[in-house]
């Protein structure tokens, strides 16, 4: 048992470090949503073969391993270079194209995506289809060589700036739920698309609602068979990359530091046994997550594919984030609700995290969905009773009395 890279991994890490040392500093940023920064950086990464490590070389990838991707991500994090903007395109959209698009399409779309010249987004969720993704109602009607799309999507990152998107729509309302969907990719600059940013609890707007009003999509942009959209969507979702590190917000180190600097009940917070007990609890959870990640990396290093076991990282991380943020405010006391960066300890990191924590517990799968995944896919427990499997979609109840 050791924490060391294999010789091959060590060599790769050395290469990555050299690369980052050469180029990384200029692109350091804390605005992980900036497209401009990200684009310049992406070209450099692509040229050096780091933009899509696990992709086959014929598509501009490196033909590398999952563990190489992890190593690259670990190193890149030190430079605060983790941009979110291309993640969906390279992680989910283009891999779906690999499986279902024509050679010509791949030639046309892969490279610009890889080099950050074209931005992709993913149009799956709908107001009435969140946890129940297969409940989508956006309608696709065939009209000659084209499809006409009407409906609404939600929670789409970068929809307003994206060039292309992958779209899951319902082409048959008479078929059972999972059998009536068809999958497309679309040009986000087409007429008939309107994007509206959604303001979140934090005040930021990192997601959009997208409205389709008679959007026309050529049948050539269909991916997979008519009615087989769910199968294609599952391919997309399978490509979610193993997340590195933690959910965000102050973690053990930060709450420890906070407790070092505050007093509660007439003594330094760090000397208070109740505070100590909580710190220990979080330490154990943090260490457990860290070493669980190491175990997952080890499995990848030995050639395994990321599996549902990794769900616990996100689930535990999100719950911990909420608790630590709130407890930090407890420690601060009567001033705990202040968000002015000059007044609140650590530039209001705890308050920011408190408001973001509910997002962590919903985005990317609610806590409830994550627990279901663990129960069913890891432990092998039976699925929930499903009443929405074998009826025509149009007959499924969608509300009280409907």
């Amino acid at each position: 048992m050791d924490f060391n890279d294999t010789p091959e991994e060590a060599e790769f890490r050395t290469e990555v470090r050299a690369f980052l040392q050469q180029h990384g500093d200029k692109f350091r940023t804390r605005d992980s949503f900036s497209r401009e920064n990200a684009k310049e950086w992406q070209v450099i990464k692509a040229d050096a073969g780091y933009a899509a490590i696990t992709w086959p070389t014929k598509f501009g990838g490196r033909g590398g391993t999952e563990i190489q991707q992890v190593i690259y991500d670990q190193e890149e994090r030190h430079y605060e270079l983790v941009y979110n903007v291309f993640r969906v395109g390279l992680g989910m959209c283009i891999p779906t194209l690999f499986a279902y698009a024509t050679e010509e399409q791949l030639e046309r779309y892969v490279e610009p995506a890889l080099r950050g010249e074209e931005l992709w987004c993913q149009l799956f969720s709908e107001p009435a289809a969140g946890s129940d993704l297969a409940g989508i109602r956006t309608k696709a009607v065939q009209d000659g060589d084209e499809w006409v799309i009407n409906g609404q999507k939600i929670w789409t990152s970068f929809a307003d700036t994206a060039d292309f998107g992958i779209l899951l729509a319902r082409s048959d309302f008479d078929a059972p739920k999972h059998a009536g969907m068809t999958f497309f990719f679309i040009d986000m600059k087409s007429p008939g698309i309107e994007c509206r940013p959604i303001k979140q609890i934090t005040g930021d707007s990192h997601f959009c609602e997208v409205f389709f009003d008679d959007l026309r999509v050529p049948d050539s942009q269909r991916l997979g068979d008519i009615g087989a959209g769910w199968k294609v969507a599952l391919t997309t979702l399978m490509n979610e990359r193993l997340a590195v590190g933690h959910t965000g917000g102050p973690d053990f180190e930060e709450i420890f530091a906070l407790a070092q600097n505050l007093e509660v009940a007439d003594q330094p917070a760090l000397k208070n046994a109740a505070v100590r007990e909580k710190l220990v609890d979080w330490y154990i959870t943090c260490q457990g997550l860290k070493y669980t990640n190491f175990r997952l990396f080890t499995a990848l290093s030995q050639g395994a594919q990321p599996g549902p076991e990794a769900s616990i990282i996100k689930l535990v991380g999100a719950e911990k984030q909420q608790e630590i943020a709130s407890y930090g405010m407890d420690l601060i006391g009567m001033g705990g609700n202040m968000m002015d960066a000059e007044l609140a300890p650590m530039a209001a990191a705890f308050q920011d995290s408190f408001l973001f924590a509910p997002v962590s517990q919903v985005a990317g799968g609610t806590n409830e969905i994550m627990r279901n995944i663990i129960a069913e896919r890891v432990l092998g427990l039976p699925a929930d009773i499903r009443i929405d499997k074998d009826v025509p979609f149009k007959d499924l109840p969608t509300g009280p009395g409907k």
Partner: protein
Amino acid sequence: MNFDISEDAKAVANTAQDFLREHSPMTAIRRVFDKEIQYDAELWKSMAELGWLGAGIPEKYGGVEMGAEVLCVLAEEIGRVLAPVPFSTSVSLATSAICAHGSEAQKNDLLPKLAAGEVIGTFALAEGNGDPDASRIKAKVKNGRLSGKKYPVTDGSIADFAVVVARDEANEIGLYFCDLSTSGITSTPIETIDPSRNTVSFNFENAEVEPLGDAWLGWQSVQNLLDQAAIILAFEQLGGAQACLEMARDYAIERYAFGRPIGSFQAVKHKLANVYIASELARSNAYYGAWALGEYSTELSQAAATAHLSACKAFQLAARENIQTHGGMGITWEADCHMYFRRARTLGLEIGGPIFWQERLMSQLEQQALAG
């Protein structure tokens, strides 16, 4: 055994509920969030007319003296709709301080205006981070002039006067009345997690103040005020918790996923059952607080801490699970969930955080055990 809110107080609560539902829908607090208004002045006026602002004020000072239970149930109804009015500061703290400690002149001057909603008061205790504690009070009064910083002060931007906790020349702690329009006061808005609370930082530089009453009052008087406020606040939190539970319940019935209401999933059902349990326990403890407040019971401190901690727990749980039940909708600005989430957290800090109240309760229980 009659461990229930009196019929009279219930009647006030019912009226208040109807009135607030009509006059303080969630659109009211949105206007504060959107910075259109700082508080709902019109509603505040109506509340004065209904006698609510004078509910704790004796008749001879222009109040209607409706008793502790009425104050409590009014707070509950205000908490239910997050009515954007300075009830917890002006009524529970400032008015109580003047009733309890003001001189006859101060009472005659201020109480009628408070009852009529003509002036708004607040309570300036905190000096930055930390729980309420005598040792944290540095603000100083010399020759009737106050110097020091007080922050955060809730409703500080809309208050006409503040009751300030400060030290005198002999370094003893007392309560001081300060007209906020006087010179020597700089008020700076503070951004908090709850933008509807009008929170400011006050910098006093030789600002004119006068002691509340004649006597030196000491830290004990601060603590007494906090105890009383904690009970009324517990009801405000209870109202909020109840609103969250109802929102979540209704949404879980209306919202369908997988062809069925999400409220038919045990993950949701049991979550909301836990919220119900926390709320019921909090309600029971709050009633005990109301009883102790009404009876001027020797158990007041203990009842206050119990009611407050129980209510904090219930409201924070309810607010959090309400968001979670709403899923993606819950984390939008557009949904009302986050306003309760923010309020729950901030009410659990403004008069001291849980560590403070836990310690206060525990020391009461120890004394009791020692007394046998």
